[in-house]
Point group: C2
Chain length 318, copies 2
């Protein structure tokens, strides 16, 4: 049984196997397991290169009591663009937790990382977005700007997007793309314009200075920030954390280190004790949105339990 | 170019590609690169499991200026034996250092780890064994007890083995196996009997107390110890380090932490300043054996540069 060769799945096959509604449920349960301390996720391994510049992240872990463990290797080589190949790449390996046998090689080219990040946004919206989402606001025009509305559609039913991007031509290309996916898209001239029109906002940029001010965000809005995944990145004004009635994060430890939360704590606009983990909200041990007119913020930096869950999702059997 | 699928190599194919004489040369150069500080080898990642017990090691690194980087995942699940499958398993992944592209998946089932460990023993013998090796002494009856003489044959030309093992029936099975590989094998009753008959000794056991005494080892003998790869393991009496004229290790940092060297330093029979790395001996910046009647000791704990080298060996192109 365990001496059989591992299954090698191509990107095409992996994409065929992703079932968004089920994945969002599974990612929610994954966050709950993480926040309950049932996910074993050691520190990330790093390799860095100088000529050409590049970096590699090695993430690995498992959920106690499930059947598998997962190793993910993701790389970023910025100069790849000049060679006509994507800067980011990656794969996942899935092993049997009872024997150590390698069961699946997922050649997903980093697609599953994108999908599990978008799925986390959908989980956040399920627990934190207002009951009626009129229009989804998007800052940014990249992969997450595309995937987040697609997965949010499953949770909110909303297909109307108001989008802003720093570069006008990319914004228009984004709008055209999203229209082919069945969305109505209104490109606007500033993050404030987005906030004026939307009560669910997702920030997906690589900004290193705040884009979204506290003043711009109206009562009854939920904001999910997914761009700040490393020190120095920042999309939200720290004051938004003071204005918000509820601040939720995927990982207290990680967000306090390098998420939006880190900036807000440094600015003194929120205290760590006021913040709860998304997994606790999913489990019901911490409240999500409590009133229609609350402002809620969710800071997502990405945790390895999402990789574990999405690999199991694609391979079948938890 | 880089978007092409990675090559998946089976154990059979991998075994066909290993060319021992060339591998020993390449491993020697790998040690030299390591000791010269050109190998980038971050700390090992670990996952541990309780039910059933198991552990996973994730090693990764590269040699600056070469074309690839390597990630190795190795597991040990002792209860596998009850299921009729090997306790140890593993694979290696090889990536392009310029783009991050995955080029090879080596499904070697831990074979390459065994081979690169044996190749290190051959490198040690090349620089430290006496000019004429009459008989090779082996403590232990496992995988390294088999592989070390096979690779040493390339360096020493010697096909005569004197072997000892704790369990008599395993020792006789080992002797029978090795005879089919073209060796003359004399099973003996103690490690001292081995030392009395041999001027090149390899210790390959999982012992946690010294097996080989200082008194037993004759002048003009080289001893390579490969069993102690984790804290608590020990095969050599610490006094042997005081008796030896030359002590060489694969990694000063690692051997001082959990190799034979760690026990000897604690016992006060050697000082770290007296010890040199095998890579320095290969590079000629430290001497190897200087006289026929010297006793030399080489402590091998295994370093990731060996994994990098053996993966490149199998995949072609450094």
């Amino acid at each position: 049984m365990d001496t059989s060769a591992p299954q090698v799945l191509s990107l095409d096959e992996i994409q065929r196997r992703v079932d968004v509604p089920r994945l969002v449920d599974e990612i929610a349960r994954g966050f709950a397991a993480y926040s309950a301390g049932r996910a074993v996720v050691p520190p990330v391994g790093y390799l860095t290169f100088e000529r050409p510049p590049g970096d590699v992240h090695i993430k690995y872990g498992y959920v106690v009591g499930e059947s598998s463990y997962v190793v993910k290797i993701a790389s970023g080589f910025p100069e790849n663009s000049a060679l006509g190949i994507p800067a980011g790449d990656g794969l996942m390996l899935r092993f049997d937790q009872r024997t150590g046998a390698l069961t699946h090689i997922l050649l997903d080219r980093a697609y599953l990382t994108d999908v599990r990040t978008a799925a986390a946004g959908a989980v956040a919206a399920r627990y934190l977005a207002p009951a009626q989402v009129g229009r989804i606001g998007v800052l940014g025009t990249g992969v997450q700007a595309r995937l987040q509305p697609q997965l949010l559609r499953n949770v909110t039913g909303c297909t109307s997007v108001v989008a802003w991007g720093r570069r006008r031509e990319r914004l228009l290309a984004y709008a055209a793309d999203m229209r082919t996916q069945g969305f109505e898209v209104e490109p606007v001239g500033s993050p404030t314009d987005v906030a004026a029109a939307c009560n669910l906002i997702v920030t997906t940029t690589a900004a290193r200075e705040p884009l979204l001010s506290a003043e711009a965000v109206r009562p009854g809005t939920h904001v999910t920030a997914v761009g700040a995944d490393a020190p120095g990145k920042q999309e939200l004004a720290p004051e938004l954390f003071a204005k918000a009635q509820r601040v939720v994060v995927d990982s207290l430890a990680q967000c306090a280190d390098h998420g939006e939360l880190a900036h807000a704590i440094r600015a003194g606009t929120v205290r760590l004790e006021e913040v709860v983990e998304l997994g606790a909200v999913v489990a019901g041990t911490a409240p999500g949105r409590r009133a229609d007119d609350e402002i809620t913020v969710c800071d997502l930096t990405g945790v390895a339990v999402q990789d574990i869950v999405v690999a199991s999702h694609v391979c079948g059997a938890g």
